[in-house]
């Protein structure tokens, strides 16, 4: 408990401080009806790090991300991106929604989906030039999907669809990447392809935040971890924060003894 209190007090302290973090959330509360999904959460993401947002089902992980981006309207709280408002910094933010949030029978091809990442840059009537098509193809190559450019999106496997979504985010050439469950229901090849791309982004100085559900890969994949269950539980480097005690608090005993034992090898 003491670790947790110290963390929360620390966050309390920089509530007032000026903040240049790539993503800083203050006192964020989001509710569906009368029940808060996220309650008074503070989160300051470390620049140039890969952060996992971890918590049980219904703990508000995706809600936190969506409210931070303004997709959902929060009840209370402020969000700043690199010290400015989200609206001012849209061009520096790339978002990868959950795969299940769209209809994959939509009449569109892989390359068209990636081109959507350039719409903000193209404006309403800007002509699509060879330069733009090359950019889109380069991003498809990065996720290993160049051969699929002309396919209808419904013909892809789940993992391939996820990689197309990642390519659409890459083509935006942002500084902050926010991904909602990119590893949910994907094959091993896709998981490897995605994590390689994310690590290369981090190595290029970008900030990456991922809503993640697989506790066994946290230590391998991430630098920082943010534990949430409606309220923020703990936040910090994986080695110091991804502890049995913090996980027990986050999951409220929902992790069985066997799961804990399996994790014990990877815990910080």
């Amino acid at each position: 408990m003491s670790v947790e209190l110290a963390t929360l007090n620390g966050q309390q302290a920089d509530r007032t401080a000026r903040n240049d973090s790539p993503l800083a959330v203050r006192g964020l509360t989001v509710s569906y009806g009368q029940k808060p999904a996220v309650f008074s959460v503070d989160m300051t993401v470390r620049a140039g790090a890969m952060t996992a947002i971890i918590g049980p089902n219904g703990a508000g992980k995706s809600t936190l991300l969506k409210a931070a981006l303004g997709i959902l309207q929060p009840l209370a709280g402020t969000v700043s991106v690199m010290g400015k408002t989200v609206a001012d910094m849209r061009d520096s933010i790339a978002y990868v929604p959950q795969r299940a949030s769209v209809d994959w029978d939509f009449p569109t091809r892989v390359i068209d989906v990636v081109m959507m990442g350039l719409y903000a840059q193209l404006g309403l009537l800007g002509r699509v030039r060879q330069k733009h098509r090359d950019q889109a193809m380069a991003c498809l190559t990065r996720v290993g999907m160049a051969d699929f450019a002309k396919r209808q999106i419904g013909q892809l496997s789940g993992g391939q669809q996820q990689r197309v979504f990642l390519a659409r985010a890459l083509v935006q050439d942002a500084d902050l990447y926010l991904l909602d469950e990119p590893f949910a229901g994907v094959d091993a090849a896709t998981e490897k392809a995605i994590i390689d791309v994310l690590k290369s982004l981090r190595d290029a100085g970008k900030t990456v935040v991922v809503v993640h559900h697989d506790l066994s890969t946290v230590t391998d994949y991430f630098d920082d971890v943010f534990l949430i269950n409606t309220k923020a539980i703990a936040h910090g480097a994986v080695e110091t924060t991804f502890t049995q005690e913090n996980l027990q608090t986050t999951y409220g005993g929902r992790l069985g003894g066997a799961q804990m034992d399996a994790l014990s090898g990877t815990l910080g």
Partner: protein, 401 residues
Amino acid sequence: MISDALLLGLGYNATLVTLGAMLLGMAAGVGGTFLFLRKRALVSDAVSHATLPGVGLAFIIMVALGGDGRSLVGLLLGGAVSAGIGLLCVSWLSTRTRLAEDAAIGAVLSVFFGFGIVILTVIQSMSAGRQAGLEGFLLGSTAGMLRTDAIVLAGSAALTLLLVLLLRRPLTLAAFDPEYASASGRNVTRIDLAMMGIVLAVTVVGLKIVGLILIVALLIIPPVTARFWTERTDHVVMIAGLAGGASGYVGAATSAALPNVPTGPIIVLASFALFALSLLFAPGRGVLSSFLRHRTFQKRVHLRQGLLALAQNQPIYEGLTMRLLKRAGLVLADGVPTDAGQARAAKAMLDEARWTIVRGDHSYEAAAVLYDGLTDLETLLTTDQLRDVDAQLARPQGVGA
């Protein structure tokens, strides 16, 4: 007579109306595409029915102000106002209460339409009301349309079409992935409002030509028709515009030639004819093509399984498999494989082995995803890739690459 009409030979007014209906059909098809892709097609039904009270009230107000109440622009403005109110009711009910959108549509549609019919009944009892011809707004009537009316309608339809083309990127984005659209700074509520504004404009322009009961068909049938022919959004938009334009043109011309036929139903039937043709005969998604593809596939599967059975000296039990093998000259009447049959069987075995390699190696992913148990790898891989695969085949099992 009809051929005269189709060749625009019925005079200036009829020509204007026909061209106006064509533009309306194009605007409706193009605008309706985004409604269809956003899966909110039925909202347009509520919008169109909600025009009726506005048209009636506009007539009463114009008569009260001393006019004869038949100014088309005035009536359409009235219709636009009440349709706008109906639209706001639907969106308020579905976002701010626990009612789902379909229930909200049902409630708004019937209440507004009922109110409109009551007002029409009142108008019937007014002295100026008998010649009002407001019933024409139910099913569309181009008879006796003034030249200025036709020009206004054609102009508005053209403007609407332009607006859709201008907004096609945000509309596509909001229809495919509203969360991403919102995260990249688009105001999805406002995009939806713009889409509904386009629908409202099409509906109001279409009131006189198609009528409020059937305008929904012109918004929905062309995009659904177009979807059979393509997997690309921009092509769906274009084909829907063409299908809608053709239906409007043929329908309006026909009804100009046959004075007692209401325009709306003819336009809808023309549009349905295109839909039916697409449903049956479109390559890829059409019914006939799916059926033929299924049959061809079934035959290939049987032939392949038969060949694999021959190669492994297994008995063939299925009649269809045997018939196909015999017809292709691969087995003799007594079930003994011919030379050609043995060669094909050996090739089938080789393909199976090659596929196993390809599906187990991540670098062949693009080809592996096309696996159907039938396709020859020669058609999917380059000669170099095939040589690599065969090299792996020759290597003893269990030895790494």
